[in-house]
C-alpha cells in the first residue's frame, strides 16, 4: 500500500501543474495577508493586534483551498484525460486499493499546501502584528488549532476534488462545479444563510480555525464539532470516489 501511495505522489510531483497550483495558493494567501494587515482595525475589519484579527490573519493560509481542490480533481481526471488510468489499473487491478492510495496521496498533497500556507502566513503575520504594536501572545492559545485546521481543510478539499473528479470524470466539469461551489454557493451560504452554511465544509473549516462569525450571524460550530464534520465529509467523499471508480469500464 505504501508503494502505491508513493507512486501516486510521484505522479503528482512529476507534473508541473502541482507547482503552479501551489504558487497560486500561496499568492492568494499573500493577498489575504496583505489586505488584512493593511486594513487592520478599519471599518468591519478586526484589528490584527487582537485575538480575533490575529486568528483571521493566520487563517489566510487557507485562502487557496480552491487550488488544493483543483489538484485533487486532476489526480483522477488527469488519468482519464490522458488515459493513464489503463496503466494504473493494469498494475493494480484491485481498484479499491488505487482509490485508497489516491485518497492518501491527496491528503498528503493537501497537507503540504497547508503547511506551506502556514509558513508563509507566519513569515508575514508575525512582523505585521509586531509592526502594528501588538503582541504575539494574542494568538498563543489559538495558533496550534488554526494550523491544524488549515492543514486539515487543505487535505479535505484535495480529497473533495478527487471525489468530484471521480464522479464527473471530466476535468473541466469537475473544476467548474468545484469552483462554483467554493466561491459562489458555499461563500454565499456561509455568509447569507449561516444556519445552513455552518454545516458545509467551508463553515466547518471556519469553525476549526476559530474565526469569528460575521457580525450578528449564527455562530459556527465549536472547533471539535467542525473537525468531526470535516472528517465526516472526507469519509463521504472517499466513498463517492471509490464507488464511482471501481465499477467503471475502461475502454
Amino acid at each position: 500500500m505504501t508503494r502505491l501511495v508513493k507512486a501516486e505522489l510521484l505522479k503528482v510531483f512529476t507534473t508541473r501543474m502541482v507547482w503552479g497550483m501551489l504558487a497560486l495558493s500561496l499568492g492568494f494567501t499573500l493577498i489575504s495577508l496583505a489586505a488584512l494587515s493593511i486594513l487592520s482595525g478599519q471599518e468591519g475589519v478586526p484589528s490584527i493586534t487582537e485575538s480575533a484579527g490575529a486568528i483571521a490573519l493566520f487563517s489566510s493560509a487557507a485562502s487557496g483551498l480552491v487550488f488544493a481542490f483543483i489538484i485533487g480533481t486532476l489526480v483522477m481526471t488527469g488519468e482519464y484525460r490522458f488515459q493513464t488510468i489503463t496503466h494504473t489499473f493494469l498494475i493494480t487491478p484491485r481498484r479499491e486499493r488505487v482509490v485508497a492510495a489516491k485518497l492518501a496521496a491527496c491528503a498528503v498533497v493537501g497537507a503540504i499546501f497547508g503547511v506551506a500556507g502556514m509558513l508563509l502566513s507566519a513569515v508575514v503575520a508575525v512582523p505585521a502584528i509586531l509592526i502594528k504594536g501588538g503582541s504575539l501572545s494574542v494568538i498563543d492559545g489559538d495558533i496550534a488549532r488554526v494550523g491544524v485546521g488549515v492543514i486539515a481543510a487543505m487535505a479535505l478539499y484535495t480529497i473533495l476534488g478527487l471525489a468530484m473528479g471521480s464522479l464527473l470524470g471530466n476535468q473541466i466539469a469537475a473544476m467548474v462545479v468545484g469552483i462554483g461551489w467554493i466561491y459562489v454557493l458555499e461563500n454565499l451560504l456561509v455568509v447569507l444563510l449561516p444556519s445552513v452554511g455552518r454545516w458545509l465544509p467551508g463553515g466547518a473549516a471556519q469553525a476549526v480555525f476559530g474565526v469569528a462569525p460575521p457580525i450578528g450571524g449564527t455562530p459556527y460550530l465549536p472547533a471539535w464539532g467542525g473537525a468531526l464534520l470535516l472528517a465526516g465529509y472526507a469519509l463521504v467523499f472517499a466513498v463517492v470516489a471509490s464507488t464511482t471508480t471501481i465499477r467503471r469500464d475502461i475502454t
Binding site: L10, T14, T84, T251
Partner: protein, 304 residues
Amino acid sequence: MTAIEISQLTKTFGTVRAVDGVSFTVEAGTITGFLGPNGAGKTTTLRCLLGLVAADSGTALINGQSYAHLGSPISAVGAVLEATSFHPGRTARNHLRVLCVSAGLPESRADEALEQVGLADAAGQRVGGFSLGMRQRLALAGALVGKPKVYILDEPSNGLDPAGIQWLRGFLRYLAEETGAAVLVSSHVLAEVQQTVDHVVIIAKGKLVHQGRLADLTVNGSTPVRVVAREADRLGPALERAGGKVDPAPAPENAAAESAAGVLTVRGMTPEAIGQVALDERVVLSELVRERSGLEQIFLELTA
C-alpha cells in the same frame, strides 16, 4: 503450456454485442495473431482479459487465473493497448518510474526497458513531444519492465514506419522464441502479422470465425488459384466435376478481353490437381498460379 484461455466470453455495451461467446487459447512460446475487421471486438476481448472491462459472462484467464488474481500482474503480463496514453508533461523515464514504483520493481528497470526499445536517448524528454512511433515504443517499454512471460498487444504497429514495423516483428519473435513468452497481437490487417505469427484467431462481429495455425489457413485448399486457358468453357465444368469451385475471374477494368482469354478463379483445388484435370481434358493452360492476395481474400471471406 496454455498461457491465455478465453472461454465463452460475452460483453454487451448498451445494445451492441461487442463480444459474443468467444473462446480460444494461446500457448507459451508462440505468437498468435488476433485478427478481425474494425469493430470486430478485438479491443474489447483484450480489455476483458486484462480486467479493464467487466465481461457479462464467460471467463478470460491468464496462467489459469483472472487478471485481478495474478499476484504481481505486470510481472506476469505485459500489455500494450490502443487508446492508452501518457501524461504529456511527464518524461519517458518518469512514466516508467511510476510503473516500477507502483509495482514494487527496482527503478533501474525503467532505463533498462527504454534501452531495449531503443528510447534510451529520449529518456529525459517529455512525452508530449514524442512522435506516435516513439509513444508505441514507450508503451512497449512499459510492458517490458516486469519481464513478463505473456504479452498482449493491441495493434502495436499503429504509427510505426516500415523500419519500426520490421523491428517490432523481430522483437516479438525474440520474445516468443528466446524468452518462451506467449504473445497475443491484434491487427485488422492480416498482411501486417502474416510474417510474424504462428497461429491466428479470427473474429468478426464479436464471434469467433477461425482459430488455428496460420499454415492451415493457407493450405486448407481455399486459397484461390488463377487459371488461364483458351478453352476455359470446357475446363471450368471439368474442374467442377473434380470438386473445384469455379468463378470467372473478377476483372473489372478489361472484363471483355479477360473472359475472352478465359480466366478462371478456382477454389478448393491445388494448382497441381488443376493441372492434372487440364491434362486429362487436353486443355492448354497459359497461366496457373496461386492468387497472391489469397490469405487476404480468405480473411475477407471469413469476416464478411
